[in-house]
């Protein structure tokens, strides 16, 4: 039986969380339910059960709250907007922009983290901090478990996956939605794991939660209630909705990668165009859609995985023009192209 998503119990009140996200089984202990709540929310988004039962690794986090001066990390391992991470002799140490500190000790069994959060924080800062710390905890665990996180959308049909990558705001969610509307199943709209299982490359979805711009309801009638959905984050236009509530039964978990679409928008162009991509260009595109920390062994492994994948799949540079999805046949044409040998259509 696959592991279940974030579970709730009376221990919620005293700040204990037990959840699974991909191949990682997360246990969190916090001083109170209110301190744990942002972490529970961050983990609740990982609602796809891991398809390989019995292959979960532990990641334990103990949280305390204190008013202490901190020594900021330098960002030698990873330098993110709200978190800087340094390598240590036993794992990693990170400091957050709002004053949180987290240290992880790793061994062959899993990862053991301790975090100290500042005493006084706004709810917004507390949630952002939790999001950042959970992202670090999970991405570290996934990599150490042999899985490569990729910032990509994924759709699946007949066990074969189409991965969609783009820079931020590049339109990967819209393209994924256009295919799901046509019957493809959704692996994720922005988070997948690449890895090997049974001697073959596989891609696994992590979230069946969509992050949509309400304006896209003009193209996708299923999103008509988007204005009423929760915000993805404070200051963002995008709304968050569970796939099940708009397209029941359209979620997928696991597939073999078959095609990769590298999407970009082009103003002044109407429609959708797809041009074949060389393997080397595909490797570069994939490398730009994963976080590569300053760790030679980790980067070498990731790049080798991308090179292997690029040699196995078909890659396409997809250009999406203004109002492309307003044309009802746009997705059909793209589907025809990626599904067969039809020459590119403009």
């Amino acid at each position: 039986m696959p592991s279940t998503p974030a579970s709730r119990s009376p221990s919620d009140l005293i700040g204990r969380i037990q959840a699974a996200a991909g191949p990682i089984s997360v246990s969190i202990q916090a001083p109170s339910g209110s301190i744990a709540a942002p972490f529970r929310l961050a983990l609740s988004l990982y609602d796809v059960a891991w398809p390989f039962p019995g292959e979960l690794r532990p990641a334990d986090l103990v949280i305390r709250v204190a008013d202490e001066p901190i020594v900021p990390a330098d960002g030698r391992y990873l330098d993110a907007a709200w978190l800087r991470v340094d390598p240590t002799d036993h794992g990693l140490r990170a400091t957050g922009a709002s004053g949180a500190v987290i240290e992880g000790r790793f061994d062959e069994r899993g990862e053991w983290w301790e975090a100290t959060l500042p005493l006084d924080e706004t709810p917004f800062a507390r949630q952002r901090e939790a999001d950042e710390l959970v992202a670090l905890l999970l991405t570290t665990g996934w990599r150490r478990a042999g899985w490569l996180p990729l910032h990509a959308a994924g759709v699946e049909r007949d066990g074969r996956a189409v991965l969609i990558v783009a820079s931020g705001g590049g339109g990967k969610t819209s393209l994924a939605l256009s295919l799901v509307e046509r019957g493809w199943r959704c692996l994720s709209d922005d988070k997948v794991l690449l890895g090997r299982h049974g001697g073959e490359d596989v891609v696994v979805g992590l979230q069946h939660v969509l992050h949509v711009d309400p304006a896209s309801a003009a193209w996708f009638p299923a999103l008509h209630a988007a204005d009423w959905w929760p915000l993805m984050a404070e200051g963002s236009r995008k709304r968050r909705v569970r796939l099940q509530s708009i397209w029941p039964g359209r979620g997928a978990t696991l597939a073999t990668p078959a095609q990769i679409l590298v999407v970009q928008r082009e103003n002044g162009f109407r429609g959708i165009r797809a041009d074949p991509m060389a393997a080397s260009a595909l490797v570069l595109a994939l490398a730009r859609q994963t976080v590569l920390p300053n760790d030679r062994a980790l980067v070498s492994s990731a790049m080798a995985a991308f090179a292997r994948l690029a040699a196995e799949v078909r890659g396409w540079a997809v250009t999406v023009g203004d109002q492309a999805y307003a044309r009802r046949d746009s997705a059909a044409r793209l589907e025809e192209l990626i599904g067969g040998a039809t020459p590119a259509w403009t």
Partner: protein
């Protein structure tokens, strides 16, 4: 900039330059500068020599053994010069004079730096995008 033409000084690929072999050539990623460099098969064969300490002189010798003519020998020296210019090589120890692995088909070696480096500062541990100003 060092003159690699007749220079017997040895150089070695920096430890934080990651090479990824492709079906055709290879990609180098400099973890310091975050730039990618694309090599054709001959270029990769030359760069591979510098995984051990060796000299530009030896690289030219190997290229000639693989079929390089005089014009390509100049291209090999240029390639080593580019590697030095981009800081991908650092001083090495005694010349290991590796044999290396000949490319399937010799052609003039090329090295192309990609226009855009990877982001130094990213959104989060999961998202490699450019952080938006607040």
């Amino acid at each position: 900039m060092a003159e690699p033409g007749g220079d017997a000084r040895t150089w070695v690929l920096r430890a934080d330059v990651v090479a990824t072999v492709l079906d055709h050539g290879a990609l180098l990623l400099d973890l310091q500068s975050k730039y990618f460099y694309q090599l054709n098969p001959s270029g990769w064969a030359i760069v591979q020599l510098f995984e051990s300490p060796t000299s530009a002189v030896h690289a030219v010798e190997r290229a000639k053994a693989w079929g390089a003519g005089d014009a390509d020998a100049a291209a090999v020296r240029d390639l080593v010069g580019q590697l030095l210019q981009h800081g991908l090589l650092e001083p090495g120890s005694a010349d290991a004079r590796p044999d290396g692995e000949a490319p399937a088909h010799w052609e003039a070696p090329t090295l192309e730096r990609q226009a855009q480096p990877l982001q130094r500062v990213i959104v989060s541990a999961f998202d490699p995008s450019i952080p938006l100003a607040e």
